[in-house]
Amino acid sequence: MKKVSFLMFAMIASLLLVMTGCGKDKEVSTTGKESKEEGSDGKTLRIVTDANYAPFEFLEGDKIVGFDVDFIKAVAKEAGYDVKLESVGWDPIFVEIESKRADVAISAITVNDERRQTYDFSVPYFLSTNKILVPEKSDIKSGNELKGKVIAVQTGTTGQEAVEKLIGKNHKDIKKFENNNLAIQELLQGGAAAVVADNTVVEEYVKNNPDQKLKVVEDSKSFNEEFYGLMFPKGSELKSEFDKAVNAIYENGKYAEIYKEWFGTDPDIETLKAQQ
């Protein structure tokens, strides 16, 4: 009997230990992932992203950094809000926004008609196009030559859509990965002939990894221009405020400053404004 009660005690004690341990873990990880900006005394917005998409948003240690991060902070400051940025992963972004648990999403999200049905978008803030990443000695020169080849993409991205438009939806030659890093890894290890993703991502990868012997193939016929927008829950009042703020930082040069810092060139603000 004594033994049994001791065992019970030990089990309960360890259970409690585990439970408190979990609680602490969670606290640490959330504070680790969020970066709260002090400054203006406006309301704090919960902004979600998928910090796995260099150079737009990625983790440096436990801090989320990138073009999108600097951009949203500048815009929110302009609009008079504080920012609580949280990395939740790509698919969950859409769930968080649809259920209104988050106020804004910024994650290099391309604005398209399908998404417009469920969400509201700000005016475009970035111009992008999908490009093909292939090994240097590959003879793929256009989107059409991808037919019959295995292509790796990030699941749910416009890269996937563009490829599906070319070779067919859910085609067996399309390998869908959680993120572009895994897709590119698949290419490097010989499991795929090409990766299709946003130009900035593939160009940045080639620039940072010259020893991997990859090159970027452009095909503006197969892949259209795309524009990124901030995503809001349908009917959000923030949209008009943020539209104004985005235009304000176009005017005052803040946008160009951030753009130059991350991409080293001047932005094409006229094309972006023409889309409004």
């Binding site: 698919d91 859910n170 990965f177 895994l182 290890q189």
Partner: protein, 218 residues
């Protein structure tokens, strides 16, 4: 919130294809894993410490590291190292069987060691060799005791095969995720997957129950 049955129907052929691959992956990993597990389990009970050492290491490594990590290492490291290209299905079978083998080895060891020493002594005194004792006396009795824990392990393995979606092995979960990210939905794809997995594990436990009853002696 509206539940969209239409997207489940649209993806039904893919979910079916995924289910078949899930079954294929699980069955082959169960067979390979059990075979390897038996060898490793026997290896672990060798009295010679030096000979048993590699088997200890195997169990320590595969039981002590997360399956997800093993999947990534095998998919992006081990398989391309040998064949020059990645193969998600091959990597999946290898990762699942190697991982399961470590657990199954422990089940075999425990099963064998649970058989009373008198059994071995009795058969040895009848003139059987050590190997004969193992094959004809100890293992048949041990196997019966091992069925419930083995059943657990098989069910865990079947469910763990869903992790293979991260390396784009087109099994059930992979198609569930594809469906979810196309329509930005969570309930439809993941509930559908949950039901299919539940159905598969129910079949598996039914088969194991039958087996257990067949082997019952009393």
């Amino acid at each position: 919130m509206s539940f969209r049955w239409d997207i489940i129907f649209e993806y039904a052929p893919f979910l079916l294809k995924g289910t078949l691959l899930t079954i294929g992956l699980s069955v082959s990993s169960i067979l390979i894993g059990t075979f390897l597990g038996l060898l490793i389990g026997l290896g672990k009970i060798i009295r010679n410490k030096v000979l048993a050492f590699p088997f200890y290491c195997y169990v320590t490594v595969f039981r002590g590291t997360p399956l997800l990590v093993q999947i990534f290492l095998i998919h992006f490291g081990v398989v391309p190292f040998f064949t020059g290209e990645t193969n998600a299905v091959a990597a999946g079978v290898i990762a699942l069987s190697l991982n399961a083998a470590a657990y199954i080895a422990e089940i075999f060891r425990a099963g064998i060691q649970s058989i009373d020493k008198g059994q071995t002594e009795g058969s040895r005194s009848l003139g059987m060799t050590h190997a004969q004792t193992m094959i004809h006396v100890v293992l048949p009795q041990a196997f019966k005791r091992m069925i419930p824990p083995l059943g657990n392990e098989f069910i865990v393995l079947l469910k763990d095969s869903s992790l293979l979606c991260v390396i784009a092995a087109p099994e059930l979960m992979y198609w569930g995720k594809a469906m979810g990210s196309q329509y930005f939905k969570v309930w439809e794809p993941y509930l559908a997957c949950a039901f299919i997995y539940l159905f598969l594990t129910l079949i598996l436990s039914f088969v194991l129950n039958r087996l257990e009853r067949r082997l019952k002696t009393e």
